[in-house]
Each structure stands twice: as C-alpha cells, then as structure tokens.
C-alpha cells in the first residue's frame, strides 16, 4: 500500500505543499508555479509543475486532478500560476486542448471568504471567480453541484459578502474535517484553527492575518487514540493570529481533547518571517512574543521538523526570510531539524522538494538517491535543449 506523504516544494519565497494519502488522494496547499520553472531550463528553479503532474492522479479520461486545493490566502506567492495551470469552469467543458495543456482539475476547492474581500492579483481573482461559480451552482441547487470539479467548502466566517445561505458547506475554526472530495478518510483529518471572525472584521485586517491555518493529522489505524503525525500549515499568519489560536484552542480544551496544538512538522508562517514572533521591523521589536514561543513548545519528540519555505536565509537580507526568526526556530528544534526548501536538497544547482513519509513513529524524511544509476549514461533533452555558443574568438 502507498504510504501517506507530505511534500514541500522549493518555490523560493512562497508556499506549495502536497499531501498524498495512502489511497492516492491528494490535497494541494497553495501553488507557486512560475512559467520560468517549466521545462527545467532554469537550473535554479525546480520544475514544480512537472512534479505536480507526476504526483497527482488522472481520471478515466486521462484528466489530471487534485482532490482538494486549499488556498490559505490570496497573496501572489501562494497562488501564482493558478490561472494558467488549473482548469476553471464547468468540468463538463474540459476540452482536448485543456488536456493537451495539462490543466489540472480541482475536484474540491477550499475557499476562505476573505479572498472575496480584496483581489490583488489575477490568480487570486481567478480563484475567487471559480469559487463564486461553484457557490452559484450550490445556491441554484444545480444537479451538477456535487460533481468533481464543482465541489467547494467554505472555511471560516464571512467578511462583507454574505454566504450564510451556504452554511452547510462551511467549516469554522475548531472543526475537524475528515471528508475530502466526497470521500471519508479514516486515518486522516484536518483541524481548522483559523481564520477567526475578529480578524475578518478588524479594520486593520490584512490577508496574512486571515490566512487559513490548519493542522493535518495522520493516524496509523482508524481506532488509534494517538496521531502518528501532526503537521501544522500556517500560510502567512502572524503572531496576532497565533496568540488567538493559542488562547481559543486552550479555552475550548481542544489542546487536550484534539491535540490541536501539537506538531511534528511546522511550516514556518510567512516564509520564516519575523512576523510570526513579533511586529516588523525586527530591529524595533527584537523580543519574540511568549505566545509564539509557546506555540513552538508544542512540538513532539526530539527531532520535530521546522520547514522554512523560502529562499536561502542570510543575515544581511531583509525579511522574509529573517535570520532572527531562523535563530528562534533553531533554538527550539536544533539546526539539523530546521529545513530550508531552497538549501536542504539540492541536485546540481536545482533545489529539490522535501518529502516526508508518515510512519507509525512520526514523519520521516524520505531517502532520495543522489546518483543517476548505472555506469553508462547518455543525456536526454538537457544539454541539447540549451543554446550553445562556440567559436574561435
């Protein structure tokens, strides 16, 4: 049987993660697909699009699809490439050209009403438009509303737009979701932490503080009491969000009844930004908030992993990523457990995804061969697809 895995793609400063379940269901969290990364011609960029296509399933007609797409929030570095690489519109109209263009169908999308508030980029607008199309089908009670490609779940509360008539599609912070793409999962679930109502209605709200934050939970067996792996996904959430997450989770006892704060893998919010620890600029707010440090104390085991999905972290560069944030994380998990997507696995000059397999004793980073295979070799399109300049001068 295939194992459950979590893959963190190297997308520079940005997020794209893929959860693959043992039944091959896939949950894509954010996307950051640069056109320049396609084809492997830029050796500093990993071809995330090719990898994604190879990692997800195809239906009986050969149409590639993800079971669930969770957009944590609408910033460009979380939804880049959505418009160009994912199919939008009635799934019945998916054409041969769409297939030739490898457009990925999203069977079920998770949608935060915050996205409806303010679109700042084309990809975010496309996501909102597709969500509204699907919500429209549900409002109209269209017969196709529950078909793959039309499914949708609303995450969190409403902002200015009103989706109260669709509350049956809604999950709010504190909820545990175990049905994905119209299929119940027995050993996988998601605990929703955020966004909170007060953040959506705050006058100073921004996209980051209203990110969807959730905990992905894996069990070895259906009736196990303990989760074998808990992975926290925080979008670009800031220390204010985490303060609220901490207090509300404890207030309702979910820290104990659901282990909702514990983690084995923590995707550092906002690409290893100081904003998780305190306000920016860091120089003016040098001390990390106690609440943020408390969140990190919920790590399990001696070698819990901290993922920094960002470019290489250097002291001189402004955040994100922020070297001071890295130091705080390292002090909690140790240097060997702090994994930067840009530097952790690099083949030639190309960063590689970090992949964890879910074992009964927690996540374990998958071994990836460094070598090519045999003693004999011959190149493929690599060098032959590169323009070569030669000459006597």
């Amino acid at each position: 049987m295939t194992k459950n895995t979590i893959k963190y793609y190297p997308v520079c400063n940005g997020d794209q993660s893929l959860i693959t379940l043992a039944d091959n269901s896939t949950l894509l969290i954010d996307c950051n697909i640069r056109e320049s990364s396609k084809g492997g011609y830029d050796e500093e960029l990993y071809d995330v699009h090719k990898d994604l296509l190879e990692s997800i399933q195809k239906d009986q007609d050969g149409v590639p699809y993800v079971d669930v797409f969770i957009l944590t929030h609408g910033d460009q570095d979380h939804c880049r490439g959505f418009k160009a690489n994912f199919y939008q519109g009635d799934p019945k109209n998916y054409s041969k050209t769409d297939k030739k263009n490898n457009l990925i169908r999203i069977d079920a999308m998770w949608f935060s009403p915050m996205i409806a508030e303010k679109h700042t980029n084309d990809d975010e607008s496309a996501y909102q438009k597709e969500a509204e199309r699907r919500l429209g089908l549900h409002r109209k009670k269209d017969l196709s509303k529950d078909n793959p490609g039309n499914r949708i779940r609303i995450i969190g509360y409403d902002g200015n737009n009103d989706y109260k008539d669709l509350n049956h599609l809604r999950s709010i912070p504190g909820d545990v979701v175990s049905r994905f793409n119209d299929k119940n999962q027995e050993t996988f679930s998601i605990f929703i932490h955020s966004p909170f109502k007060e953040h959506l209605t705050s006058a100073t709200k921004d996209k980051n503080s209203t990110s969807i934050v959730f905990q992905a939970r894996f069990k070895e067996r259906k009736n196990d009491f303990q989760h074998s792996t808990l992975a926290m996904f925080g979008g670009d959430s800031d220390h204010y969000s985490w303060d609220t997450i901490l207090s509300k989770t404890k207030k309702y006892g979910k820290d104990k009844s659901e282990d909702a704060l514990q983690w084995d893998i923590f995707l550092s919010p906002h690409h290893c930004s100081w904003s998780f620890f305190n306000d920016r600029p860091q120089e003016e707010h040098v001390d990390p908030k106690k609440t943020s440090l408390e969140v990190l104390n919920y790590k399990r085991g001696e070698s819990a992993k901290l993922i920094a999905s960002c470019r290489k972290i250097v002291a001189e560069k402004p955040n994100p990523p922020h070297d001071a944030a890295k130091k705080e994380y390292v002090s909690k998990v140790g240097a060997s457990n702090f994994l930067n997507t840009s530097t952790n696995e690099v083949k030639g000059n190309t960063p590689q995804p970090i992949i964890f397999e879910i074992t009964s004793k927690g996540p374990s980073k998958v071994f990836k061969s460094r070598s090519a295979g045999a003693i004999t070799s011959a190149g493929g399109a690599g060098a032959s697809g590169t323009i070569i300049k030669q000459g006597t001068k």
Partner: protein, 753 residues
C-alpha cells in the same frame, strides 16, 4: 566503542582504482580528508559517517539506528572493483540481531551490510561508488524506518555469506512434518528423514551434499538403518550417492523467534549452546537416536526450523530452515566430543524435470577459451566438444545448482560441483580412451586467470552476460592473434546476440554491444528488447534463498537454438573467412508464439576511429566508421564559416569511454560566422528524446561538435567558457562534457569529468 579503534593507519600502496573510489567518497560526503585503515593484508577500510533520516519520534520498532551512523567501507586491495566494497558498521554495539539484510558475522566482528538482493559484485559492475554510497544510505534509512524487508509483510531470511555445500529438500514437506507433528517419537520435537548423501570432492574436507525426503519414525528406523547399511556395503567405494538419515528439529511449543543469528556455531559445543537458546537440547536428541542404533560415524545433517513472526520470503510458511552438518569424529564414554566440527549448508529446493539434448558431431580444430559455463556457454561448449574439438578451456567460478538443471548441459549428478570442473570431466569421460591435456577447467573468476593460460587459445568466447566480465574484457590487453567474441540471450530468450571483435580488438566488444543498442532505432527485435528492458521491474525473481540465486525465466529450447546458431557461426568464422579485419554484430531472433519463426540479421562492422582526450583526462572517444569523414566534410562544406551540432552515443564511466554512433547537424535556428557558431535548439530535444526512448534510455546526447575552419587545434576562450556552462548541465545526468573540434584535417576531442 568503535571497531575502527582497533585498526591502524594503512601506509601501503593503494591501487589506482581504489584511489579513484576514495576520491568519489570524499566528493559524495563533501569531506577533504579521509583516513585509510588497515584491516588485514587483504583489506583496507575507509571510515565515514552516514546521516540517517529517522522518524521524529524515533525509529520503527525501537531499532537502535542513530541519526549519524559510523561505517567503514572495506575494499579488497587486490580484487577491487571485480569484488565490490563491503560496508561494515563501525559500531560494535550495532543491533545485529534485530535486523535482516546483514551477513552473519562473529560476535566480536562488526555488522556486515547486505546492500542488494542478488550478487553484489555483479550489481556493482554496473554501478559507480556514488550508487554504492546511495545504497548504503538507503539501507540505513530503511533500517530506521522499518522498510528493510522490501517484501512488506514477509520475513527476510538470514544471510549466509559463506556455506559449504547444499541440503536439498522440499520446504513444504518440512513444514508439513512440523505442523503435523510427525515426530520421531511421540512427545518429541524432531524428525528423522530418509536422505541421500552426494559425495562431493570439490568441497573442503569432502563435505557431502544432501537430499532429504520423507520422515521415518522410531517404529521403523531399525529396518531403515539396516537397509542403509546393506546399501552402503553393496555399493562400490567410489559410489557418489549413498543413502543416509538427516534430522529435522524444531521448538516444541512452536515459539516465535524474531531475532537474527549473528554468529553460527562452528563446533559441537557452540552448536549445543546455539540450540539451547531455542529450548532445543540437541545432545539429548542425538543420544535418543543412538539408542535407536543410529551410528555416529559420518557427517550428520541437521535442519533447524525456526518459526518466524511472518511468512518467509519466497516460501509458503513461517519456518526458516538453518542447515548444519556435524562431523562426529570422536566420542568419549559414549559422548560426542565438544570439538566436533560443524558447517552450514545452503538450502535448495530439489528439481525433478528431465532434460533432453540433441547434439551433432563435427570436427572442430580451433582452440577456445570459454568464459562462463552457464546455460548458453555450456551448450556451445558441448557442441564443440562433441564435434571433436580438442583444445577447450573453461573459466567459471560458479557451482552447478539444482535449478540450473532446467537449461544446462550438465545433469543431476553434477549438482553442487564447480561448473568448469564438471563439464571438463564430462568431456574427458567422452574421450576416456584418449586422455587429453588440452581440456582445462579454471574454477576461478576471470579476473584471476593468468595471461599464461589465456595465450593457450586463439579464440575467447564470453557467455557470462556479466557486466563485470564485459568491463574486464574492455580493459584487458590480449595478444593480437587472439579473437574475442561474446554472446548473450536477451528479451526473455527472444533475441540472441553474438559479437565478434575486429582484428587488433577494433571494433572492441563494448563498441559492438553499444552498437546493438543504437541499432534498436531501425531493428524491430532490438527495439522490442530495449523497450522491455527499459520498462521491466528492477528486482528479479529469487529462486532459493540467499543473495546469490537470482535467475531469469527462459526456455531451454530457446537457449539451445541460440547456442546452436552461435556455435555454427563461430565455427564457420574461426579463420575470419568472411569478417577479415572487421567485427560482427549478429542478431538471432526467435518468435516462439504459434508456429515458431527464426530470423537472423548481421552487420559487418568496420574499425572505429579512436581518439584519446586531448586534455589527458583519461577519457577516450570511439567513433563508428564513417562519422569522421562526415564531420570533416561538414568543415569543408561550410568553410569559411563554422558549423556544428551534437553527438549521439553512450558513455561509460568504468571504462572512461564515449562511443559515438551518429551526429546531428546544426538545427535551423543556429547561427554561424567565420569565428563563431551558436548551436540552436529547434527540434533538437525532441530528436534526442526520441532516440533515448527507442533505445531504452541508453543512447542519447553525449556531446557537442563544431568546426574550426581556421585550423585552430585547441579550445578557444569562448569554447572553454561553453565547456564550463555545459558541465553544470551535464553533471545532472551525469555525463562527462565532450567538446569535439573538427578542423579541415582532424578531429580533436576535449573531454571533461
């Protein structure tokens, strides 16, 4: 406590190939300096630390594998790279008894990792040190993550890195005896088995092989022993098969044991202790048998059944059988002496099918050294032998096993013997009345065969299908008068390939083998083979236990057909009547579906143009005939402008050779002038990928060529810059970077790692 603390620095001479390997180890682990330790006269060890990915809450099943595991990479000073390196754990407290895929080793010795199923030397012949180190890291990853047993819910057997002879019996029969409790005496947990003892002069101390069948109980043992005695006394002393009794023992309460044995007994005292751990008193069992008139005057085979928590890999039950032979030599006051020797034997499943062969008679007068006496080789040898060829040498270090009976020319009475010895003996027996000194068996690895022996022959035929032997052939120098050929059967027996080198070893064997890959582009049989090869599962079927019993399923008649036509061709071309100076690629295809069809195609292959790297990197460029002229013409045609393109072929890191079979000329978007050439890309990646697909991924892009009509016989500054750019792209494959400069009169290859 580290094993390496016991070792001292090695100050002797390190062979060049091991130096290269050490350089690769440094590069892999990104360290500047490595210690070289002396293990003994034969081995040196390189200590390094492997980083292991461990689940965040510890290893699966609490196995004591750590995030940083110290290891020693052990090299054989004389036999590397034919003998692969071995990985030893440097930790003397390594959890040897908790893990599979370890070779059994003495308590004080470090754990020895079994990295691959099958023959590790053969696997390594096709790999680089980088692959070996990857396999090592993967071994630790699997150990920490509970994935060492690839077969999931099945139990991996104990690895024996050495054993003496075989004990043949049906697994399911032994399992049935235990499950049905067919014990020798009621209430006991052992059975007596009627066996056959096969005399074996090849083994140390003439330790026999055994074949065991049905159980015999106490009530009838008297009669059986009498019958054995009678048979023994009536058989002539040289008789090779003698009836005997074997003993099968198991733990009476059917307890399950998970641990692996780290050290197997070597004398009777340790055997008693060994069985005692399993709550089995072997001495009591033997004394019970003695009371039933069992006589301790010979080798006594004992099979120990260990019940495992899961089904054994490859077998239909949870019992792992460990086979011992005790040579009960002395007795004091009726007791068995503690110092009696004990050996381990391998278990093999018996084979019962008959073989049939039709051979023709013909006189043949060339002298041939056969490397490999497997199914294909043995049949060609016997064609020659039955035709009266008087000078035959056979080099093979392998023993003949039961499952070889399916396709080999030898019969069941040779089971357990060295193949080379056994075949030569068969041939000698054919010519009993005229003993010949020119029939020689060399029961050693080909790399150990001395030049004095090789020069006795004017033909060498390699039928091993071994990459290790192929590499040895490529790197070996032979006298000019020796002809070299190789044959192999591929694509499940559907295609047979015979390669004959040209005179003076040009075209060489690797030129011809790689040419066969390239010809898949326009030969349907080869294309099917390359496709099947590229898409097959990497792991092969295990027949029998252990790491050295991999086999493929090919019918005997297919092998015979290929053998027959190869034999005919080699005989007809013994004086190179058709070939003259050239080499040969001969393809024999069989369609076995319906009414069988056969088809032959051949290509007489002229000499390759050979160029050493101009930079002295040790790499060599070998161009198929005709390419040189084609490239020189291009230079003239485009003069005064430069032109260029890419080279299509294959490179081999072990022999440091690039074979080129074709060129692709400047794509349409290329630009050129008198002093520069910009090679475009229009349609090029697609063309290369199509070639790679059609050849099973083996033939593809291997480098760039461009012309210097100004006759500049060096890389220009621009060229050097381009080489650097290409190197970073090629390293991903990996591929050496080849820049071939074509002047008006010559080709100048520059090859960089």
């Amino acid at each position: 406590m580290l094993f390496s603390n016991r070792l001292v620095q090695y100050n002797g001479i390190i062979p060049l190939q091991i130096k290269d390997a050490i350089a690769e180890i440094k590069q892999y682990y990104n360290i500047c300096k490595l210690k070289v330790l002396a293990i003994d006269d034969q081995f040196i060890g390189i200590p390094v630390v492997v980083e292991v990915s461990i689940p965040t809450m510890g290893t699966i099943a609490e196995i004591d594998i750590r995030p940083k595991e110290p290891i020693i990479i052990r090299f054989n000073l004389k036999l590397y790279p034919e003998y692969a390196p071995l990985v030893l754990s440097d930790r003397l407290d390594f959890p040897k008894n908790k893990l599979s895929h370890l070779y059994a080793s003495h308590k004080e010795d470090p754990a020895k990792l079994c990295l691959v199923r099958g023959n590790v030397n053969e696997w390594f012949a096709g790999k680089r040190i980088e692959n070996f180190l990857d396999a090592t890291t993967e071994w630790f990853y699997k150990a920490a993550n509970g994935k060492l047993n690839d077969d999931g819910d099945e139990f991996d057997p104990l690895r024996l890195d050495s054993y003496t002879g075989y004990h043949s019996y049906r697994y399911n029969r032994m399992k049935g005896i235990i499950e049905d409790n067919v014990s020798f005496l009621p209430g006991h947990s052992f059975a007596c088995l009627i066996s056959m003892r096969y005399a074996n002069s090849d083994q140390i101390e003439k330790l026999p092989n055994f074949k065991s069948e049905m159980p015999v109980q106490a009530a009838s043992i008297d009669l059986v022993l009498q019958a054995i005695k009678k048979a023994e006394s009536s058989l002539p002393p040289e008789s090779k098969v003698i009836p005997d009794i074997a003993i099968l023992v198991w733990q009476g309460e059917h307890k399950i044991f998970e641990n692996y044995e780290t050290e197997l007994p070597r004398n009777y005292r340790s055997l008693k202790n060994y069985f005692h751990q399993y709550s089995i008193e072997i001495d009591t069992i033997l004394q019970t048998l003695k009371q039933h008139k069992y006589v301790f005057d010979k080798h006594t085979p004992i099979i120990h059944a260990i019940k495992r928590p899961k089904k054994m890999i490859g077998f239909d039950g949870p019992y792992e059988f460990i086979n011992f032979v005790v040579k009960i030599t002395t007795q004091k006051k009726g007791k068995i002496d503690d110092s009696c020797k004990v050996w381990n034997q391998d278990h093999i499943e018996p084979f019962s099918s008959d073989l049939a062969q039709i051979l023709t008679n013909e006189d043949r007068n060339s002298s041939t050294l056969f490397i490999g006496a497997g199914s294909l080789g043995s049949k060609i040898i016997m064609h020659d032998a039955r035709s009266g060829k008087s000078t035959i040498g056979i080099c093979d270090d392998d023993n003949f096993l039961q499952h070889n009976l399916a396709r080999h020319t030898l019969y069941a009475d040779s089971v357990g013997r060295n193949k080379a010895n056994a075949i030569i003996e068969e041939i000698k027996q054919m010519y009993e009345t005229e003993p010949r000194k020119t029939l020689n068996a060399y029961p050693v690895s080909v790399s150990l065969l001395s030049d004095q022996k090789i020069i006795l022959y004017n033909w060498i035929l390699d039928s091993t299908a071994s990459l290790n032997v192929q590499n040895w052939f490529v790197l070996k120098s032979f006298p000019a008068e020796i002809n070299v050929a190789r044959c192999e059967v591929v694509d499940k027996g559907n295609v047979g390939l015979l390669y004959i080198e040209g005179r003076n070893r040009n075209p060489r064997i690797d030129d011809l083998i790689n040419l066969a890959y390239y010809r898949a582009l326009n030969n349907r049989s080869l294309a099917k083979w390359r496709h099947t090869d590229a898409t097959k599962e990497p792991d092969t079927l295990n027949i029998g236990l252990g790491c050295s019993s991999i086999s493929t399923v090919v019918s005997d008649d297919s092998i015979s057909q290929h053998a027959a036509i190869f034999s005919r061709l080699l005989h007809n071309e013994k004086d190179r009547a058709t070939l003259k100076e050239n080499g040969l690629l001969f393809i024999h295809s069989i369609n076995t579906i319906g009414i069988p069809e056969t088809n032959t195609k051949f290509e007489v292959v002229p000499v390759f143009d050979v160029y050493p790297c101009r930079e002295g990197s040790g790499w060599e460029l070998r161009l198929i005939n005709g390419l040189r002229q084609r490239l020189l013409k291009q230079c003239k045609k485009h003069k005064p402008n430069e032109t260029g393109g890419i080279l299509i072929g294959i490179c081999n890191y072990k022999t440091k050779t690039i074979h080129v079979f074709d060129t692709i000329q400047a794509p349409s978007d290329s630009k050129s002038c008198a002093t520069s050439f910009i090679r475009g890309i229009a349609g090029l990646p697609q063309k290369v990928d199509q070639i790679k697909d059609s050849t099973g991924g083996l033939i593809g892009y291997v480098g760039e060529w461009h012309t210097h009509p100004t006759q500049l016989e060096a890389l220009s500054e621009r060229d050097k810059q381009t080489v650097e750019e290409l190197r970073s792209i090629n390293q991903k494959v990996p591929l050496p970077t080849l820049s071939l400069i074509v002047t008006n009169t010559d080709l100048l290859p520059f090859i960089f790692n």
